[in-house]
Chain length 278, copies 2
Amino acid sequence: MSVASESLTTWIAARRAELDRLFEARLVPPADGDPGRLLEAMRYSLLAPGKRIRPLLALAAAETAGPPDDAVLLACGAVELVHCYSLIHDDLPAMDDDDFRRGRPSNHKAFGEATAILAGDALLTLAFDWIAEAGERAARPHDFLAASRALARAAGASGMVRGQARDLGEPTPTTLAALETLHAEKTAALFRGALEVGGCAGGAAPDARANLARFGTAYGIAFQHADDITDEDHAEHAGAARDRLEALVADACAVAETIGARADRLVGLARALSHRPA
Amino acid sequence: MSVASESLTTWIAARRAELDRLFEARLVPPADGDPGRLLEAMRYSLLAPGKRIRPLLALAAAETAGPPDDAVLLACGAVELVHCYSLIHDDLPAMDDDDFRRGRPSNHKAFGEATAILAGDALLTLAFDWIAEAGERAARPHDFLAASRALARAAGASGMVRGQARDLGEPTPTTLAALETLHAEKTAALFRGALEVGGCAGGAAPDARANLARFGTAYGIAFQHADDITDEDHAEHAGAARDRLEALVADACAVAETIGARADRLVGLARALSHRPA
């Protein structure tokens, strides 16, 4: 392992621990035990062991502009709330009907459908609470309004939810191009949003923000190809997907390098996608 | 009908028409017909005829500080998106399982459960997009961050969603006090949020914002009592609920009057709750 990759590993572990502490501290059960199952259901999904890749990318984006403070961490953490809500709602019987998530019962299997719907709704809502709170504390309020807007656009009917809706209504894509269109909305929109949230909250310049967004889209589609290869999904496209993965990682790295030396983390995170076990 | 109530009627009709134009213009189907059913489902519920009482109260709150501009209208309109999402999710089979809403098939009966869940998710997300967009245009960005935060707190696990979760898990309240605790979260939290969104976006002073929030809570509980009386829900408490309704309307009017002459609309809207047909 090279020094650069050791340093990335250390950085990831430290930021992940900060995020986990934030989530635990913010979703602490009140002393009187109320509100019971709703908070329990939110904690069940949010505090489950996870890679935290979206908020890590948001933090790496923020670091291109300077060291993140607590407000930036809070805004970047909000991205994980949106990811977590989307998993809970996607697993519902009316959606993908998955009984398991990361080896444990999915939220609705553990808490019932009604509580799972509400826990998802509450996590989505909380994301915007956190970004607004971060902005209220910050000296650059417009940047946090921009972060909130970027996250809403990434998550909603022009992004992730639109991808979910498209996936419901249409047959499995038969070409790699059609598959990438689906990946762009269902997966890459939130990665793009994560990079934008980090860039805005961190105070990156407008041209850097645009490049961070481009990085996010390329990373997100590459991420989904890597996931598909690992899970043997869409196996008929596996060879082409591996080529596209390499090309998208190269694109992402090239865009990140225009942002300057402080984009090292982003480059490292993108390169790691190429080296996942098949 | 007095001159004052005529003028309120005219104001309501004019503001409601502005809100309806905003909703129609913002959820316009794209020329290529895409994204199809998701947007159709969002339009089906949002553009259904409605009283728009929550955004009207938000606008009346904003007017206590001065005439609302387009950014204020957009932020106040966001409150209706949150209300609309909550109706779609509440009607789902796993929740209240209602097949009809205002005499038409509920969203999931018209579009299926998966699309209804996503349409609700998308409307909730869009609310925060609108407030952030309004704030990006405004000269007082902190006020729109405060509005976003107030809406998130009203809607989420410390407000409306918490009330929904409590309602799922507990037997029907047997005392009027227990019923009001439920009303406070399930109904009044979003009314309080509406008044706070209006007050913040309109630029009301901190003490006026606090009084607007108090007005919202009293109005919201009174609104739910009025609804229960009309629908003959919780009929065993009907006599006591009517007394509480009158007392809460009086409280709301007294708080509004401390805000000054420009709170006339709020006083008129609160008084109207006492005069609803039984």
